[in-house]
Subunit: 339 residues, 2 copies
């Protein structure tokens, strides 16, 4: 592979001049410039990004450590992150933590070793020393979707409070009174928060959220299945299950189906995170939709702001309720899905 030296030789100039042409520095003669460009062309030269990064201490690369790529919500997030980053001249390296703190750490470490310019994280846990140290040491960093309290890092996320209130109103209107939730891991903000918001919304209708109706999931489908099995085995099973993410809703669907029961007649179902497939499941699933693409883009903008020395602020965007048929038929739709 041709190097800058080869180009310099071919063009009959020094490497300094070649570098100037490539970085369009003003003081290069028109003659030298054309000769260099010709040499670049004939040699098929492309600058070595590794060498450049070593010298400039910039990689123009962002790291994205995501909880679970197989979760469509995060897939979409990753996609929007890459798009916005590309528009701003950055590449993205994605690390999939698979909801495992050790894998998360592995990815943070290799990304840091590669000297990425900034890190976008959706933390799987409360934060390893590695990550906290990196944040403290000033590595540009932004949390997206989930965050770690007490760490001075901008957070870009959706606020589901009002959408969950709308959901509970919807469920109450349909006559449901025994409402259960499949929660995410307590180590994550979204795992805890969604339970609290749900409990609060229930309170507004004079309803309780008993411990038996709080199932502990891990944001993966299998846990949703198990928790739902547990709910169905209760002496007094819930009428509705609210899954704190889309995969656990899928697991809940599996559990209901395995028993030969029907949604919503035997058990109503709602989920946090809206995804395309929810329109086509049997029945279509009522969900709380996050502005996923907007979150990804805002997170990248905040991170790049930090990297380039600007403030870089937290952003919170509202989620909204999308009513479908999984909680009962006779609803007055709060809002129709347009997808």
């Amino acid at each position: 592979m041709a190097s800058i030296k080869d180009v310099a030789a071919e063009a009959g100039v020094s490497v300094a001049t070649v570098s100037r042409v490539l970085n369009d520095h003003p003081s290069v003669s028109a003659d030298a410039r054309t000769r260099v460009l010709a040499a670049v062309e004939t040699l098929g030269y492309r600058p070595n990004a590794v060498a450049r990064s070593l010298r400039t201490d910039q990689t123009h690369t962002l790291g994205l450590v995501i909880s679970d790529v197989m979760n469509p919500y995060f897939t979409e997030l990753a996609r929007s992150v890459e798009e916005e980053a590309r528009a701003l001249g950055y590449s993205v390296i994605i690390g999939n933590a698979d909801e495992r703190p050790d894998l998360q750490d592995h990815h943070v470490r290799t990304l840091l070793d590669r000297r990425i310019d900034g890190l976008l994280v959706s933390p799987t846990d409360g934060g390893s020393p590695l990550m906290l140290d990196a944040a403290r040491a000033g590595t540009p960093m932004v949390f997206v979707d989930r965050w770690i309290p007490g760490v001075d890092v901008p957070v870009v996320r959706a606020d589901g409070r009002s959408a969950v209130r709308d959901l509970v109103a919807h469920l109450h209107r349909l006559g449901h009174r025994r409402l259960a939730i499949i929660a995410g891991p307590a180590a994550t903000t979204t795992g805890r928060e969604r339970v609290e918001v749900f409990r609060e919304a229930l309170g507004a209708y004079g309803l309780e959220l008993p411990d038996a109706y709080i199932g502990q999931g891990d944001f993966q489908a299998e846990s949703g299945r198990l928790v739902t099995e547990g709910f169905l085995d209760l002496a007094d099973p819930p009428e509705v299950v609210f899954a704190a993410d889309n995969l656990m809703a899928l697991g809940a669907l599996d559990a209901v189906r395995a028993r030969g029961l029907r949604v919503p007649d035997d058990l109503a179902l709602a989920a946090f995170d809206d995804i395309r497939w929810f329109v086509h499941t049997d029945p279509p699933i009522t969900a709380i939709a996050q502005p996923t693409g907007e979150l990804g883009r805002a997170a990248v903008r905040a991170l790049v702001d930090r990297i380039e020395g600007r403030p870089g602020e937290s952003v919170t965007l509202p989620a909204r309720l999308v009513v479908r048929r999984s909680c009962g038929e006779n609803s007055t739709p709060v809002q129709r899905s347009t997808t």
Copy 2:
């Protein structure tokens, strides 16, 4: 960020010795080794992968250029690729081409600029000069899922021939005679091949595949919807639509639903690529399942073989039919889904 020099100073040795300890070279005294390791610990030193790559001309990184991350099939592929690569000591940088040749080229270019050790590609088109040149120049490369004919690069893919035969047998047994296909782009091997295989299988039952029953899609949901609309508008519409990938099947579902029709009564549906959601759609969708995880792993192994100087061979694995209810009820299942 501490460099190897700082460690050397802290430990009271030369940088050479530090480097030897880090790469566990045999001739280092036990004393020096412990002093260096202590220094590494106190400084929190991590070697700079950029500098190391420049010197060794290896990045221990693979590039994966994929047609569309939002397609669950490719998401799963990406995931298995990353897993296997990690097990072999490599990182993966994913580039999402979104079925756009220009984006594909963009990613190939930046990956090459970063001097990745090898490239895994699922080409969106017949191959740009850039990619062909890279292959010819000896960049370790492997095609996965799709490939470019006439290029000397190993191919890792699934063979759907026998599964498609099983599918057609299944459809024929259910009494369907007018079978249509939503094809992928002719610029891709899978786009062309699936049509041919389907036509061949129909031939075995004395059935034809008229041009009117070949819809041109682009592997994205929207095209599946449009093509299906077209089919439904025909004077003599097909009884079955076979979508060449899962997203176009989703689009077909949209089209059927928009007209208030039912699957399979008004139109039967089958798809290439099996995904989790197909179990829960209304109705569950009959599909041809690829051994996706195995493909990803095999592709990585072939690529790493090439990188490390071993042969690196093509692999073809069989796909299999998974019968569900989207083509009709009274089937004798060829194979049950276990998902």
